[in-house]
């Protein structure tokens, strides 16, 4: 298939932003607070962070919010009344500045939410999101997208992928989907005919660090390994890794009750928490942190490929950057690859 490639001048990006805003589009873009970059409702172009290798939080918050109401309920003499959320109220959103690994993560997350039950709310949110991917021209020691089948210029998951040609250069825009075409049709003058359509030389170099097929095969026989205990000794059991991850999908359903009425809310949860698997009886099948750490790795590199034919990791490296005790997933995967069973 021939991808429609266009040239977007470096000054045109701001114009594009303004035109989209004038067309009352809601744009979520990375912005900085306390030195950390997160996707937020962008008021103006100047507030958008640039030059980051990776945002601290992934963009999954937009399609799978940290806390999301799924219904309201109220009890009365007449009985119980339940009101679901109005899917029509979900706004159209442009996700601006998504790295290719995150865009790839959208597909992995979607496969979880469509595994068996098709999650209506998630799918609805996703259908209203247009993804502006931005290729990576630099990486750091935590990046490993190429080891899990991605690359710094991966088009998967983006509706338009922008690649900056040189440090202060113009952008190559690859229009990848119908949603991308809609954007082009709003400001066709900004998407010029492209002469130069080679992007590879502008992309960051991310060396392949491990073979994910090999890891998957090894994990099948690795369940009882002592390696899990050694790796997880310093893990404190917080949820930072899961909450910054673009593909972690664990959630908890909570009723926020106020007397006879309340809201049912879906909230993020993490398999790293000690109480995640605790039973009502008090028994906890994953009683030790090593079992919880194993679950995290197994889920991403064994269970998901087996059941959903996708990996649960895009190699963004966020979990390693965010971890307060330097649990580095790349380092741990490499050591799993190296250990002989």
């Amino acid at each position: 298939m021939n991808i429609d490639k266009r040239l977007v001048r470096k000054d045109s990006l701001e114009k594009l932003f303004d035109i989209l805003k004038q067309n009352s589009k809601k744009i979520y873009a990375p912005s900085e607070k306390n030195g950390k970059i997160t996707f937020r409702d962008a008021e103006n172009f100047k507030g958008i962070s640039t030059g980051y290798i990776q945002t601290t939080q992934s963009s999954k918050d937009i399609t799978f919010p940290r806390a999301e109401k799924i219904l309201d309920y109220s009890k009365s003499k007449e009985g119980m009344s339940v009101k679901g959320i109005d899917l029509k109220e979900i706004p159209e959103i442009i996700l601006w500045g998504v790295r290719p690994c995150d865009a790839n993560g959208i597909g992995e997350l979607s496969s979880i939410f469509n595994w068996d039950y098709k999650d209506e709310i998630y799918n609805n949110r996703l259908s209203k999101v247009t993804v502006f991917g931005f290729s990576c021209n630099k990486s750091d020691e935590y990046c490993f997208c190429t080891s899990v089948g991605g690359n710094p210029g991966n088009t998967l998951g983006s509706d338009i992928l922008f690649t900056r040609m040189g440090d202060d250069g113009d952008y190559l825009a690859e229009i990848l989907t119908e949603k991308g075409n809609v954007i082009v049709s709003i400001a066709p003058q900004l998407f010029e005919k492209s002469e130069n359509s080679e992007k590879e030389k502008y992309l960051a170099e991310v060396p392949v660090r491990f073979n994910h097929e090999e890891i998957k095969n090894k994990l099948d026989k690795f369940f009882e390994s002592k390696e899990w205990i050694e790796q997880s000794l310093r893990c404190l059991g917080c949820g930072a890794c899961a909450y910054v991850c673009p593909t972690c999908a664990c959630f908890d359903i909570q009723d926020e009750a106020h007397g006879k009425k309340g809201s049912r809310v879906r909230c993020w949860d993490s398999c790293g928490f000690s109480h995640f698997t605790i039973h009502t009886s008090g028994h906890n099948p994953r009683d030790a942190q090593s079992q919880r750490w194993r679950q995290r790795i197994m889920h991403k590199f064994s269970y998901m490929p087996e059941r959903l034919s996708v990996y649960g990791c895009t190699g963004c490296g966020r979990c390693s950057r965010a971890c307060p005790v330097d649990m580095n997933i790349l380092e741990n995967l490499i050591s799993i690859q190296e250990v002989t069973i």
């Binding site: 909450y243 009750a257 809310v265 307060p324 005790v325």
Partner: protein, 266 residues
């Protein structure tokens, strides 16, 4: 730290302790906790200014406790935490040996916790200048401004509870936020849920927090939540003459004086 490596090896080889907890070089420019269980691993021990994680958080961790007696490479905040934990009956001389690292980066070994306490008491808990300025700035704000400040600052919080996990004093096997009958704190990371969680955290640490900033350092979003406990520290000083972790004696919030002064009760 040659001294530390040497001593760690001796302790492991003589089976005086089962595990030595210290720091090693991590990935990137990070340092991280190291659990030395055989003498070869001791060579990985390091100590420098990047080693700020409060290792006392591991003392109450089930997986570490199970190993047996431990030695901890302890900076001043870690030593304070150990004393506080001892005063709360979480650790005793029988299960810990403290390899102190003085503020001058000298190794100092203590025979027992009483000696650690004596050492720790030479130093007042003091809030650093940058945070002091921040506290003053907040103090000068009006009430609605402060409210907005915290609503904005806490907005990014997604309740990963890294602050709780990294804190040596948050060792409860079941935290108040994990209770749902009754539900004290709203679970969702909404403005209210975040605010009440952080208020609760600060109150539960009042009189116990030793100002190590582990919560702030652990926060993946760098939310200045340590300001809350710092404020409590100042209040403890202002109203009750401050506190130092101590092996014996009453805890600030579980005791009282008949002549405690206040100016707001009618």
């Amino acid at each position: 730290m040659v001294d530390l490596i040497k001593r760690a090896k001796e302790l492991i080889e003589s089976s005086s302790v089962k595990v030595v907890i210290g720091y090693e070089q991590g990935t990137g420019n990070k340092t991280r906790a190291l659990f030395v269980e055989n003498s070869e691993d001791a060579d990985k021990l390091i100590f420098d200014s990047r080693c700020i994680q409060n290792l006392a958080a591991y003392i109450t961790k089930k997986e570490i406790k199970e190993k047996g007696k431990m030695a901890v490479a302890a900076t001043l905040p870690v030593m304070r935490s150990i004393i506080q934990l001892a005063s709360e009956f979480q650790v005793t001389d029988a299960n810990i040996l403290v390899l102190g690292i003085t503020p001058e980066s000298k190794l100092i070994e203590f025979g027992n916790l009483a000696e650690v306490e004596k050492f720790v008491h030479q130093y007042e808990i003091e809030i650093d200048v940058r945070n002091k300025e921040m506290l003053d700035k907040l103090e000068k704000m009006t009430q609605p401004e402060r409210w907005q400040f915290w609503i904005d600052e806490l907005a990014p919080c997604f309740k990963c509870y890294a602050c709780r996990a990294a804190c040596p004093m948050c060792y409860c096997s079941r935290c108040t936020v994990d209770f749902n009958q009754p539900q004290w704190i709203p679970v969702p990371s909404t403005e209210l849920g975040n605010l009440e969680w952080h208020i609760m955290r600060a109150i539960h640490l009042t009189g116990r927090c030793i100002d190590c900033d582990a919560c702030y350092n652990a926060c993946p979003l760098s939310i200045p939540i340590n300001l809350l406990t710092k404020r409590m520290l100042l209040d403890a000083k202002e109203h009750f003459g401050g506190y130092q972790p101590a092996l014996k004696g009453e805890h600030l919030m579980s005791t009282y004086k008949p002549d405690d002064k206040e100016n707001f009760i009618q």
